[in-house]
């Protein structure tokens, strides 16, 4: 395998006694759209700023394309950044903003003009070259910042919460456009975001951080379907987390006796946990099937028939258009969030609160978490 584009080696960053980034090692391949995701204060922005050279690591090394850049000044790195506030220079017009970095590099005027033109065309701002930033909308200003960074042909483009200042509709459009631009220029993108939808929708791979440490680095679908721990499971999307005891653990199946459930939870994969240890079971709301209790009780897996079925009462429901979300409480006191897709128009009227229901799930649905 070739050298990764970016490599963090045991990077730690302290601000006084506060540890913002704690011993992070991470590799990003060339051409990836990599996102750093996490709640605010988790250290993702600090990690990005260290990559840009705006902060210096307290410990560890950072390599870009095989070159150690740990102590290199930001203006000497093959990296450019789109800032959260866009930081478009207010006293320069759009073309001059984009040309700024090229002027500093003493790119000849002729080549500079062509490259600025190309960059503006890439972000669809060719008609705005002579506008001042105060005559632009937020979305257009962001395009200027993007063009200004890309025109320097960096090896890596950094984006710090690029979409957070845009309104919802524009955000969706920009999301698709950013992904398209990345495809077109082929530059490695590293984006920081606290918005998981954004991270999942755009990223080729995603690093989830919490309290300065990496929780999991994976593709968006792996992050959702195979979370490494409870924090990841809980942060990405909605999940029903049940605490329980590992009662059976074989190579091809396992069973967990969860609190609040009368029947065990059966999964069709082995868990490498100690017998009788505390574990957590996560089940996504859309992977639960729900039928009124007036119908026959669903059958569980053949290997352990009573498992993966429970009875409960609907406490409340929320109609969200594409799905309806139900809160269901079991007789043992556990609560489940259940998502039912509204697949046919008005075909399936909402079940009323107070209705007694059966919940069931496939052996593939639950994920067992050891931490």
């Amino acid at each position: 395998m070739s050298e990764p584009m970016i490599r963090f080696e045991n990077v730690t960053k302290r601000f006084g006694s506060f540890i913002a980034v704690d011993n992070v090692s991470l590799e990003v391949e060339a051409g990836e759209f990599f996102t750093l995701l996490g709640p605010s204060g988790c250290g993702k922005t600090t990690l990005l700023r260290m990559l840009a050279g705006l902060e210096t690591p307290s410990e560890g090394r950072i390599l870009i394309d095989g070159v150690d850049v740990t102590g290199v000044a930001p203006n000497k790195r093959p990296i450019n950044m789109v800032f959260q506030s866009y930081a478009v220079f207010p006293h320069l017009n759009v073309a001059d903003n984009v040309a700024y970095g090229l002027k500093i590099d003493r790119v000849p005027a002729q080549e500079r003009a062509t490259r600025v033109q190309d960059a503006l065309r890439l972000v669809k701002l060719e008609d705005f070259a002579h506008r001042m930033p105060d005559q632009l909308s937020g979305g257009q200003r962001q395009r200027v910042a993007l063009a200004r960074a890309l025109v320097k042909r960096p090896k890596v483009l950094l984006l710090d919460e690029p979409l957070s200042a845009l309104d919802a509709k524009l955000r969706d459009a920009m999301r698709a456009e950013l992904a398209a631009i990345q495809q077109e220029v082929g530059v490695t993108f590293v984006m920081v975001t606290h918005d998981q939808d954004e991270a999942l929708a755009m990223a080729s791979r995603c690093a989830l951080m919490n309290r300065g440490t990496l929780q999991q680095v994976a593709t968006p679908s792996d992050l959702y379907e195979y979370p490494a721990n409870r924090f990841v499971a809980d942060f990405i999307g909605t999940i029903n987390l049940l605490e329980g005891t590992l009662s059976t653990d074989e190579p091809d199946h396992a069973a967990v006796q969860a609190e609040g459930l009368d029947a065990p939870i059966f999964v069709n994969h082995g868990v490498t946990g100690a017998p009788d240890s505390r574990v957590w079971v996560g089940i996504r709301p859309e992977k639960l099937a729900m039928v009124p209790a007036t119908q026959p009780r669903p059958e569980g897996p053949a290997a352990l028939p009573p498992a993966n079925v429970t009875q409960g009462t609907i406490i409340r429901s929320a109609y969200l258009g594409s799905v309806t979300l139900y809160d269901v409480e079991t007789q043992g006191g556990a609560t489940f969030k259940v998502a039912r897709p509204n697949g046919e128009r008005m075909a399936d009227p909402a079940l009323p609160a107070g209705e007694s229901v059966y919940l069931s799930w496939e052996p593939t649905a639950p994920v067992v978490l050891l931490t």
Binding site: A52, G53, L54, A73, P74, N75, I79, N80, M81, F83, Q84, S85, A87, F89, P90, H91, Y100, G101, I104, D105, M132, D134, Q135, A145, R148, A149, K152
Partner: protein
């Protein structure tokens, strides 16, 4: 509906007592200045009776060599003091805004001392300083003989520039500077390309403040000026010691006109700058 509409609760300008009050305040503020300007056009040696319009006094001023010399001195001092004050004040403001260092709080407090210390004390201090601590050589060629005055003017002008620039720096987005660095600018280049345009309105108003304060300073200058280094305000004072003549009125009117003009230009420039920067 010919009747005037009722006076609303916020229509202060339509209430008689308030209108009178505004009139009185304006009269107190501007009558002395108006009479000064008016009598500089009075065709009479005595200043109390209006005898007719004339511009003779201004013509006479233009022919008075010692007055012209004082005027040129004043402009020179103001110009040099302003340049130094703007550079020094801006650098000080940037240092105080940007860096943390031991004694920063103390420095921050001391910087405004020349603003709050009574002018007479500053004057005496300058007299003592240039008299015994650091005697300014006497017979230097022009404009170096003005050095003592220029230095003392810089002392009380640059804190004003510093205060104005610091206020402006507070609204600076650090990401702008980081963006410039990220795009390849060195630290100095980033300050020059991004920070300087941002503080430009403050530089203009700071410079005008310094210039007008230097131009019309009397007290401190009086203590530092020698017989060959007379400034315009000091010259007017020496003219008044004999009698208040129409020449004095005319000279004062000229000084007033210059400061008012500069202030108007300053406000105009600043308004344009701020508008173009902030939209």
């Amino acid at each position: 509906m010919s009747k005037k509409s009722e006076i609303g609760p916020l229509d202060y300008a339509r209430r008689l007592p308030l209108q009178l009050w505004v009139g009185v305040v304006l009269a107190f503020m501007y009558l002395p200045l108006i009479s000064l300007v008016a009598f500089s056009f009075n065709d009479s040696r005595r200043t109390i009776h209006w005898e007719g319009f004339t511009t003779d006094w201004f013509v006479k001023l233009a022919g008075d060599d010692s007055l012209i010399e004082a005027f040129v001195n004043s402009l020179t001092i103001a110009l040099i003091a302003t340049i130094f004050s703007v550079v020094l004040g801006t650098l000080t403001a940037i240092v105080l805004w940007r860096f943390r260092f031991p004694g920063r709080g103390l420095f921050d407090g001391v910087i405004t001392l020349p603003i709050v210390v009574p002018e007479i004390c500053m004057g005496v201090a300058m007299l003592v300083f240039f008299g015994s601590v650091f005697p300014w050589p006497r017979d230097l060629p022009w404009p170096f003989d003005l050095g003592a005055i220029i230095i003392s003017h810089i002392t009380f002008c640059f804190p004003f520039v510093c205060v104005v620039v610091r206020a402006r720096l507070a609204s600076f987005n650090r990401e702008m500077e980081e963006a410039a660095r990220d795009l390849g600018a060195s630290e100095v280049r980033a300050l020059w390309d991004v920070l300087l345009p941002h503080v430009r309105p403050a530089l203009i108003s700071g410079a005008l403040l310094a210039f007008t304060m230097s131009l019309d300073d009397f007290v401190i200058t009086f203590f530092t000026a020698g017989p060959n280094t007379v400034t315009f305000p000091v010259k007017i004072y020496s003219m008044v010691r004999f009698s208040v003549t129409p020449e004095v009125n005319a000279a004062s009117s000229v000084l007033m006109l210059i400061t008012v003009l500069l202030t108007v230009i300053g406000i105009r420039l600043q308004g344009k700058d701020v508008a173009s920067l902030e939209g």
